[in-house]
């Protein structure tokens, strides 16, 4: 009982309603505590010294003057962080990224840190640390990095045979034979697309308070997308017992993938261990830009062929993704998602992971998919134009559906892509007239969605209220969704459930809130935990009524005797059973620990209207519509919120956001003034349309929704701009100077 996760087409009482979130009061009154809002008694202030060079050998670090400064309690260098990675290259790279060892590999790479009694002293101490650098040649751009003559970013890395030394790894996906497919095409378009590096741009900088005691116990308060993952990484890097490190996730002020990686947290703990006092470490915005998680810059070479009647005969893409100095999975994710929306006979993608002297690439919402979608969806748009077909019709004609073998291997189950396209076709937005200098673009996007390790407790209080303890950090209202699910399953009011996020000592392991897994996975374990609790409630009711448990059913939040044989027995409410619990066997609880599987794939279709000023190249989004399959929207307000927020992040990236490096390899715009994310006055309302094609592997049909909304916008905006100005845009962001340059180039012929 309890573990059946197949979709049941039941009627909902709670799921799909829009109650107020349980943490709303705290968050509108300023009482909610985020990473920097917490203090420990006796805490010190931590600060990090960062490399001013894009690439430099660290010949020596003299910390003696800093250590001698009054009020300085610890100075930390890589010498204080022994390599415990034991051959685990991923762990070693994490260690090296947290603090440079022999080589600083990017502008902003941490090289030392201090803990002092106050901010003034800590800042003064940083100035007293003398680092002797030997500056090395650097490379920050893809085109430069993949030349045979490029500076070597990873001096010990072995290149794959025949490939430039800065290509960290390659991976290939696909089926059929694209060359055959291209021969059958009437029109083939081949183009190169570029996207610049963007940052997640969460408003809350990374912040933590760490405390390591001499007896080996430790605690960490931190804003993170996953307390358990941070515990694992910090314990491994510092040689702590996992069970002795208690990590508490604060409220999190945005993450979007950027808070799935440890950055300053191991430093705070190591400083605390050395100083013997708690250390609070809060990054500045400049440090966030220079030292943490941007996404990849990319270059994608695409070739797609179609027949005159709009059938795609083949698709091919070479996907180059930067990963900072540490090869990871970014090119792989680009290569897997590139053609995932389409049902193709011949398709091949190759991912190339390019190492450069830029910060370690981190996950950013549907990591790698938006750039690949930009390339593919742009070419499809152009192909549609060439063959005189409506761009939406071209997509409808080639859309992946149930049974389609995706370009990266798996065969899709029931998916809602076709429904999003149909909804787009019928949407009034598509028929609205356009004004002068305006253009319309459509684009589609895909994200896998994931499950993963998940653990949830459901405890019933003696007053019949329910505490649901989840381990997936609530990044955008998921406590409301989980309360709805528990209330639905138990048949009780929403207000009777309180959902809390556990620290790592209070619950079993939970993977990060990432990959659009939070609501899918934790709602599964919530359903299972509730069902287990219902089993116990039925047993207790049986005892109270003096009848066999098999004669008890749970309905509408009550235990009832089944059939006519016990017709005169009263129904027992959850409250009544809970009240009697001390005498019927003790606490009543349900638990669930699973590796969630069967996250349903997610698809979306976006429609974008822009107006471009041909003189300045300035672009305004004048109308935007997001259509996406949610499987089942548990709390539609927050599903819409994901659609809108993801779309706007994509719009910002499409039009404005980029890391700008100088010739010296230094980041020139590490602040919100020069790295400009969209503000309220830049945007129109963002219309949403939730499609619900149930995920067969979830009792309620739920699919993750968070990632996909950022996938189509780069392409949707680019297609709209290209139509508005009559020139195909192939470089993101389409900032005013790039648009003006493209117009001038077109004029010059």
């Amino acid at each position: 009982m309890g573990m059946d996760q197949t979709f049941k087409n039941k009627a909902f009482k709670m799921v799909g309603t829009r109650p107020e979130r349980p943490d709303g009061f705290d968050k509108v009154t300023g009482r909610a505590r985020y990473g920097a809002d917490f203090n420990m008694p006796g805490q010190l202030v931590g600060r990090i010294l960062r490399s001013p060079h894009a690439h430099a050998r660290i010949k020596s670090i003299d910390t003696s003057k800093a250590e001698a400064l009054q009020g300085v309690k610890a100075v930390l260098t890589a010498a204080d962080l022994p390599d415990l990675s034991d051959g685990d290259s991923g762990l070693f790279n994490t260690l090296e990224n947290c603090m440079a060892r022999t080589v600083a590999r990017y502008d902003g790479h941490a090289v030392a840190a201090v803990a002092a009694v106050d901010t003034r002293t800590a800042k003064e101490a940083l100035k007293l640390i003398k680092v002797d650098y030997e500056v090395l040649p650097h490379v920050t751009e893809i085109e430069d990095a993949i030349k045979d003559t490029a500076p070597v970013v990873r001096e010990n890395a072995k290149a794959e045979a025949g490939l430039p030394h800065n290509i960290g790894s390659t991976i290939e996906f696909g089926h059929g034979d694209p060359e055959t497919g291209f021969k059958n095409a009437d029109v083939v378009i081949e183009r190169t697309f570029k996207t610049e590096q963007s940052h997640q741009g969460y408003i809350e900088p990374h912040a933590c308070v760490g405390n390591v005691n001499a007896d080996g116990t430790a605690e960490l308060w931190v804003c993170t997308q996953g307390a358990f993952g941070y515990r694992q990484d910090c314990a491994s890097l510092l040689g702590l017992d996992v069970s002795k490190l208690r990590v508490t996730s604060s409220e999190i002020g945005g993450g979007f993938g950027g808070k799935t990686h440890v950055w300053a947290e191991p430093i705070a703990l190591a400083l605390s261990r050395k100083a013997g006092r708690p250390v609070k470490l809060v990054l500045s915005r400049e440090e966030v830009f220079r030292g943490t998680g941007p996404t990849s810059a990319t270059k994608i070479d695409v070739k797609i062929g179609v027949t005159k009647d709009g059938r795609i005969t083949a698709g091919y893409a070479d996907c180059y993704y930067t990963s900072g100095p540490y090869p990871s999975v970014w090119a792989e994710l680009g290569a897997t998602t590139a053609f995932s929306c389409y049902d193709l006979e011949h398709v091949k993608t190759i991912g190339y992971e390019v190492v450069v002297n830029r910060p370690k690439t981190a996950a950013y919402r549907a990591p790698s998919a938006p750039m690949a979608a930009f390339a593919i969806e742009s070419v499809l748009d152009e192909l549609a134009e060439k063959i005189g077909m409506d761009p939406l019709e071209l997509r409808i004609k080639n859309a992946a559906k149930e049974g389609t073998q995706s370009s990266y291997g798996p065969v899709y189950g029931p998916i809602g892509f076709g429904e999003t396209l149909a909804a787009a076709k019928n949407h009034p937005h598509l028929k609205a007239p356009l004004g002068k200098n305006q253009g319309r673009g459509i684009a589609c996007g895909y994200w896998f969605n994931i499950g993963g390790q998940t653990c949830t407790d459901l405890n019933i209080g003696v007053d019949g209220t329910v505490t649901l303890t989840i381990g997936t950090v609530d990044v955008g209202g998921s406590r409301a969704s989980m309360s709805l699910v528990a209330a639905e399953e138990l048949g009780i009011p929403y207000e009777q459930v309180r959902t809390v996020v556990a620290d790592t000592s209070s619950l079993g392991h939970n993977d990060m809130t990432e990959g659009s897994r939070g609501t899918f996975s934790s709602s599964l374990t919530t359903i299972f935990a509730a069902r287990n609790a219902i089993e116990i409630l039925r047993e207790r009711a049986a005892l109270m009524l003096g009848i066999p448990v098999d004669d008890i059913v749970w309905e509408g939040g009550e235990a009832r005797a089944k059939g006519d044989s016990h017709g005169n027995l009263p129904a027992l409410s959850l409250k009544e059973i809970a009240k009697a619990a001390p005498k019927t066997g003790g606490p009543i609880a349900g638990h669930s620990e699973i590796t969630a599987d069967g996250a349903g794939a997610s698809f979306g279709t976006h429609i974008c209207d822009v107006e471009v000023d041909p003189e300045t190249g300035s672009t305004r989004v004048v109308r935007y519509t997001v259509i996406q399959d949610a499987g089942k929207a548990v709390h539609p307000d927050y599903v819409e919120g994901q659609f809108q927020g993801g779309a706007v992040q994509g719009i910002g990236w499409a039009l404005n956001e980029e890391y700008i490096y100088g010739e010296d390899g230094r980041l020139q715009n590490p602040g919100f003034l020069d790295y400009r994310i969209p503000v309220c006055s830049d945007l129109p309302m963002i219309d949403t349309h939730i499609v619900e094609v149930p995920n067969p592997n979830h009792p309620y049909g739920v699919r993750g929704v968070g990632e996909t909304p950022i996938v189509p916008p780069l392409a949707a905006v680019a297609n709209a701009v290209s139509h508005a100005i009559g020139v195909r845009m192939t470089h993101i962001p389409m900032s005013p100077p790039r648009i003006v340059a493209a117009l001038e180039a077109a004029k010059a012929g």
Partner: protein
């Protein structure tokens, strides 16, 4: 260590504190007075998460020195609700799901309250420009604008 003695009024209460010359009003609020509702998102006046009102003027408290608070009247997010009774803007932000992570919310509420006090019946465009000094990365602003529109309507008794 020497400090500057400051007497000021915060949310109607007289408050005294010592601060160093380089400390911002935001540092003082958060680190010396335990008022952590205002957030530091950038420290350079670009994100608005630290918005407060000083003598009736909306400012980024990261751009005001603590010492400048002397003799002023400061209003923060902590003073917006009347005891346990939320301000209509606070209620509408919750009702419209105008927050996801919520870290920008205090700044938006302070700025929106200031906006509606100056302009009780703003157009959508006036709301968008009135709140353009506050960054939100989660919502795309749609539900924030709707919450402010609805709160303005309620406050006008419309």
């Amino acid at each position: 260590m020497s400090g500057i003695a400051v007497t000021t009024t915060i949310n109607g209460d007289t408050v005294e504190f010592l601060c160093q010359a380089e400390e911002t009003l935001l540092d003082v609020l958060r680190n010396r007075l335990g008022m952590t509702g205002a957030k530091e998102g950038c420290g350079t006046g670009d994100c608005g998460a630290c918005s407060v009102v000083v003598d009736g003027r909306l400012v980024c408290s990261c751009l005001v020195l603590g010492a400048e608070a002397e003799g002023r009247k400061i209003e923060t997010i902590e003073g917006i609700a009347d005891g346990d009774t939320l301000h209509p803007l606070q209620e509408k932000f919750i009702e419209h799901a105008a927050l996801q992570c919520g870290v920008c919310t205090p700044g938006f509420l302070v700025a929106a309250k200031d906006l509606l006090e100056r302009n009780p019946d703003p157009t959508e465009e006036e709301i968008r420009f009135g709140l353009a000094g506050n960054l939100c990365r989660c919502t795309g602003y749609d539900k924030i604008v709707r919450a402010v529109q609805d709160a303005a309507k309620e406050m006008r008794g419309a």
